[in-house]
Symmetry: C2
Subunit: 429 residues, 2 copies
């Protein structure tokens, strides 16, 4: 690591965020260098095709050789490849050569975070990943530092812009899932293959990062319960709204007796809850702690604003290097139990189509009652004279998920029940 | 500074926050010590009356002698006296004896911040003040670190819980200022002498701290334009709501041609703006930067949650001490011009009582037009047959404040104008 001279940054990747970071570092070079008291230089940018012209980026900075990013005079390696391979390998190599590493890669941090952080510690450098969750919103550093005095009770987040855009459209315009998804794809808010977003996998990556940090324990992605938004219909938004609720895809981790409950699924939340008002592609993360109560971080969760988080991490690494400051040690880790969804206790919204005849509700109520679930309200919605069916919307009191699943199987098998249309958990924030 | 042994904390003050910090440090001692890898001990607590019993605080920790807080084995001094004197003097003494200092004192940081931060730098220690603005909400550290890559364009904040509680009551219940204030006083949300809060002075202290940090330039409290909420009436909330606006006391700092515009005053903001939904004693700080766009921090702005911020600073100082880490250097400071309010350009809401006769509006429109101010809408409200007056609500297009003040003087002197009831700036967020 050069002392006194320039601090040299190697960038891996020149996609949307990578190119924006490169251009910003180049155009704001003077400002950042003045703030640091040391010149901050872009050493090289690793790309697949070095011959391709990139606006605002001098072509002599481009390289296709990763080894150039690991030369001895490079201080900071910034990984913005956005895929797992070869990112994880490059990051490990950079850390072992005692480079500070900055990453925007949720997949790598979710799958390999604990190991890479350990590697960073062993090599006396820092691995910074503010941009991996919530785009530009500061949330990793606040969890690492500003909220550290708290026992975190819960993290409740809207951390997938694609699904929040779709749900907002379904709620505002009565659009069905397919139509709202199509529009999101036209506008570039959803990928041609949207599975990762709409099935909650992207949110699960990010939640595993947040939960690991909030609860000082490794939370593996696989241990997080996941359910997507594809089964929601325009009707559910209408009924939820009548009942005073919004529907959001929530990523949640909370501490309860016996361990940590983690899950990603659509949820009814009261229409006046702060998270109910987070619309479109915005992200929001609500943290509840024993000292602070509830605090909320909101902002743009993807795209260009992510540049803010990546460069903040670069400047933080650069300041540590300039001051010859070792990175702050990680707080002691515990090994909490990650609880299965069957241990959840919450309220439920159930929409079901039944044969329109007397005694049906009694059968359903009996099935629920046998599983110790009591009904808070039932509304009979549209009856269809032709098919002789009616639609029921049931809200339950608090019940155990295991009991609810058992009751649902019984209800599903009733000859008077045509279909369980929707089953959504209710989060009274 | 003891190495390897316990890190020792001296607390100054045992008021609401001071006592909560003391109790929390004592009860969570094990947790914090494990996180640090070093025991974290409360060395002493400076109080006025050491004989007074304080629940949960061993009386042998109490002292009335400041020198005990500055003994060589104390590492961190935490100032929670909540007044200017002797806090500023104690802080300076502690810094000169190379103690890390943590403070929750907005008045001291607003008036003496730059000098004390310099003193900390000279002595190789840190002065941390997260708790001085926004209670437990992380905002100082995010401005210092997480948003550092941005050129900040604007900070727009609701940072006084008392006035926000009063304005929320006026808005929701149609209460008048006096009634809403009375209730806030009964509930302990307003002081017996509420001047500092309702006249915007408290918000001005906090804004000077935020603006100095956001714009890397000293922003003196005196240079911030200030206007309180005492002249607002229930009517203004009704009319604003009809026009699609909420009324909030905003603390704002923004960069514009020629310098930084800073001000604390009531403002009409669109009812669907995020800040319009921040109600009651909550605080919210919105930061706009060139990279991030807009990001929002919301949470409880005072009382017990402040403990979270004070202890986060203590843990941060303790981690630096444990790792023998010098504090991060301050980014280079500039010396921007703080602009007078007369340089502001915005829209205005004016409520005035006029003689109910033809030609009055023409006179007012002429007076405004002569000052280059054009009217966006006029609504005639209640006419009073007895006094032969009518009420007009005028919304202007963008205009310069200097022109507006000139026009208001002319309007005020019109014989057909009985009174200018309200004059509120409009912030289109």
């Amino acid at each position: 690591m050069a002392k006194g001279g320039p601090i040299r940054v190697a960038l891996l990747g020149a996609g949307t965020v990578g190119a924006a970071v490169a251009r910003t570092l180049l155009t704001k070079r003077e400002v950042y260098s003045r703030q640091l008291g040391r010149p901050l230089e872009v050493d090289c940018i690793l790309v697949k095709d070095a011959a391709k012209q990139r606006e605002g980026i001098p072509s002599d900075l481009l390289t296709t050789d990763f080894n150039r990013a690991c030369e001895p005079d490079v201080d900071i390696v910034v990984e913005m490849l956005g895929v797992e391979d070869p990112a994880v390998d490059y990051m490990a190599q950079a850390l072992m050569r005692r480079k500070f590493v900055v990453t925007a890669n949720k997949e790598v941090m979710s799958k390999h975070g604990p190991r890479l952080l350990e590697l960073a510690g062993e090599n006396g450098v820092d691995l910074l990943y503010e941009a991996s969750v919530g785009g530009g919103i500061p949330i990793i550093a606040p969890l690492k530092r500003d909220l550290l005095a708290n026992n975190i009770k819960a993290v409740t987040a809207i951390i997938n812009g694609t699904t929040n855009y779709i749900l907002t459209a379904m709620s505002r315009e009565g659009a069905d899932f397919g139509d709202a998804l199509g529009r999101a794809q036209e506008l570039g808010y959803a990928e041609p293959d949207p599975t990762n977003d709409v099935e909650g996998e992207d949110a699960r990556y990010k939640l595993s990062i947040l939960a690991s940090l909030a609860f000082h324990t490794p939370v593996l992605r696989e241990s997080i319960y996941r359910e997507g938004i594809t089964k929601l219909t325009a009707k559910d938004f209408r009924y939820a709204s009548e009942l005073g609720y919004a529907i959001k895809l929530l990523a949640m981790a909370s501490s309860q007796d016996g361990g940590i409950m983690t899950r990603v699924h659509p949820a009814l939340i009261p229409a006046d809850a702060p998270l109910a008002k987070v619309d479109g592609v915005l992200n929001a993360i609500q943290v509840e702690g024993d000292l602070i109560g509830r605090v909320n971080f909101q902002g743009p969760g993807a795209g260009f604003p992510t540049t803010s988080a990546v460069i903040a991490d670069i400047l933080d690494a650069a300041r540590s290097i300039a001051a010859d400051r070792p990175p702050a040690p990680m707080p002691e880790q515990t090994n909490a139990t990650i609880l299965p969804i069957s241990d959840l206790t919450t309220r439920y919204y159930i929409r079901l189509t039944v044969i329109d005849q007397p005694g049906v509700l009694a059968q359903i109520a009996t099935a629920l009652g046998n599983a110790q679930i009591s009904i808070a309200s039932v509304i009979q919605k549209e009856a269809d004279a032709e098919s002789k069916t009616a639609e029921l919307v049931i809200m339950t009191h608090e019940a155990r998920e295991a009991s609810m699943q058992e009751a649902l199987r019984t209800v599903e098998n009733l000859t008077t029940v045509a279909e369980i249309g929707s089953f959504v958990r209710v989060e009274e924030q």
